[in-house]
């Protein structure tokens, strides 16, 4: 049945666009062949170098924008200080059950949490996730112009950790920042490993569905806290 529909829809489109004669152009003409790999590598290096040069300008811009979007930012000098921030936040929110990425960046943190006899929720168990107080993730990219953090799903980076708990803490290295959307799409497109899900997050969950009054935390986290270190 679906096969017939497929044929029928494509036939309708073809006749609609090009008349009954339906002369089809070669696919190559509408879809340019992939750009030369060496050129891309060169371009990636150029972009990376340029970004490294103005990294802290971009970080400042990022902080401005994400703050405007309702996010909270703390900047630390190194991993120790970031761990300190997290300990303070756990106390501040009186958190008991945490959910966390298992990425290299956060491995050290896991031990800290276990020391403090806090519980860790498993991302496979959605009911446990629903009870988690804070979700802690890393940050794969950040976009300065829009104040956005970009998270990429993989086996150690589940998607629900930045979504289900009411508080989301994102730990971010300063070298993940890019200037704008165009750069982000260029770099992501040329990453080697594919992902089932990439998410842009800009501030806490928000709605304006009642008389356009802004209300935070309608479905996703009420608070987004980004911890940046060099």
């Amino acid at each position: 049945m679906s096969g017939d529909s497929r044929k029928e829809i494509l036939r309708r489109i073809k006749t609609g666009l090009r008349g009954p004669s339906n002369t089809i152009e070669e696919k190559e003409t509408i879809f340019p062949p992939p750009t030369d790999g060496k050129w891309i590598q060169q371009r990636i290096t150029e972009v990376r170098e340029r970004l490294e040069e103005k990294k802290w300008d971009l970080i400042n811009r990022f902080i401005d924008e994400i703050t405007k979007a309702g996010g909270r930012v703390m900047v630390g000098r190194g991993e120790d200080e970031i761990r300190g921030f997290i300990t303070r936040l756990i106390e501040e929110y009186n958190a008991k059950l945490l959910a966390m990425w298992e990425s290299d960046l956060l491995i050290g943190l896991r031990n800290l949490i276990l020391d403090k006899s806090l519980q860790l929720a498993s991302p496979i168990n959605k009911d446990e996730m629903a009870r988690a107080d804070i979700g802690i993730t890393g940050t794969d990219f950040a976009i300065a112009e829009t104040g956005t953090i970009v998270l990429i799903t993989n086996e150690t980076q589940p998607r629900s950790i930045s979504l289900i708990p009411p508080i989301h803490i994102a730990v971010m290295r300063s070298n993940v920042v890019v200037e704008n959307l165009d750069e982000l799409f260029f770099l992501v497109k040329n990453r080697s490993e594919p992902t089932s899900c990439m998410t842009f997050i800009t501030g806490p969950s928000r709605t304006a569905d009642i008389e356009l009054n802004l209300t935070l935390g309608v479905h996703g986290p009420k608070e987004l806290i980004v911890l940046i270190y060099p």
């Binding site: 679906s2 666009l17 112009e145 956005t148 009642i210 356009l212 009054n213 479905h219 996703g220």
Partner: protein
Amino acid sequence: METRRLRFEIDSASALKNQNLQKALRNATDRFRAIRERATGEIKDWEDLRRRAREIKKNTIEHIDQYLEILEESIKKAGGTIHWARDGNEACSIILDIARKNKVKSVVKSKSMATEEIELNQALEGAGIRVVETDLGEYIVQIAKERPSHILAPAIHKTKEDIARLFTERLNTQPNLEPEQITKVAREKLRGEFLSADMGISGVNFAVAETGTIVIIENEGNARLSTTIPRIHIALMGIEKVTPKFEDISTFLNVLFRSASGQKISAYVSFITGPKRKSDADGPEEFHLVIMDNGRSEILAHEETRETLYCIRCGACLNICPVYRKVGGHSYGWIYSGPIGAILTPQLLGIDKAPDLPFASSLCGACKDVCPVKIDIPRVLLELRKRVKDSKEGRKNTGFGERIAVRLWRFSMEHKIIYSLVSSLSYIVQKPWLKNGRLRSLPLPFSRWTNHRDFPAVSKTPFRRMWREIKDT
């Protein structure tokens, strides 16, 4: 699907009398407009971005069959399943089949105009499946048993008092809740729904052919929850949502938010490519994409109106439109409203179902000026008006008086002396009806105009004389 004839004239007249609605509409559209103006004024290359966005859409639509085939291949490669639906009924039965096969009892939905278009909720509920809208505005509209009235803000026609009353009536909440409390109640109710649902259904903002990625844009996080927690994710898209390349999304995101809500970007943008990978800890095990025609290939077949399919559903034309701002979304009779609804609805449902809509415009052109993909809505409206008048019913409905009047108008326009004579005469004849320089109520047949709006008085000095004087100075 909608089969009755829409009644714009009747519905808009009652909307104009509804004081509550007028207040809600004025507040909302004014604010939308102000933030859009600020956001688009902020960037230097706004016009350039619009041109780029239009260029991508144009190229896509001209070769859309090829891009859809590429999209199909990419989605399969990512482990997803593709379904093709010729019309709304077929799309509903595809989705129902998947639900039945998986013994689905409850479904969470994120906002999607395509599912509204095919009345998917009724189809699922008819089969005994529980369907819950999870976008706050859609949820409000669902419990009120109404229809959304704005593409972006479905409950824009309701004041906060209306909504508080609704929650008390239907959900037994305390009376007079404030927006924050209403939101909290909705969060708690809907959390339970997300956790127990077997299936999540979403729309699609863009579908990237080369990577097989669907892009979903939202502010609340309900689309992320709907596409993360339940075991099955079904996404429904009209054929026009496909776009060739991954980086096209950059251009669309740049124009969409600024036009829609005046944000630089929404709180969340999700890029979903197939189901969860084996090693992923969470995410749906099955991913289905339903590609639906439902009248779109027919729009495509008319070159003059083809650009209707460029629309990225930002809602900017609604907020700027002097007609929408007065009559609201429901007057347009179907799910798409405002200027885009006036051109989309008659083409999707058939011109005989909505013959009034192409005339629900003053042709002022504000919609064209704000459109992020520069759709020439006034031109398409004129083309559709022509189609209405050329149709059998249209000919029948054009009265003898209207025909004579148009002939006379044409005759006088073609003869300079007659034209001057008529205009000088009108200046004298109009006097009894003149009020503060406007004609506010004229006798039949002109009352059909002045019942709804006034008419500028005929000037004493004809334009031609003014022109001569201006030219001389």
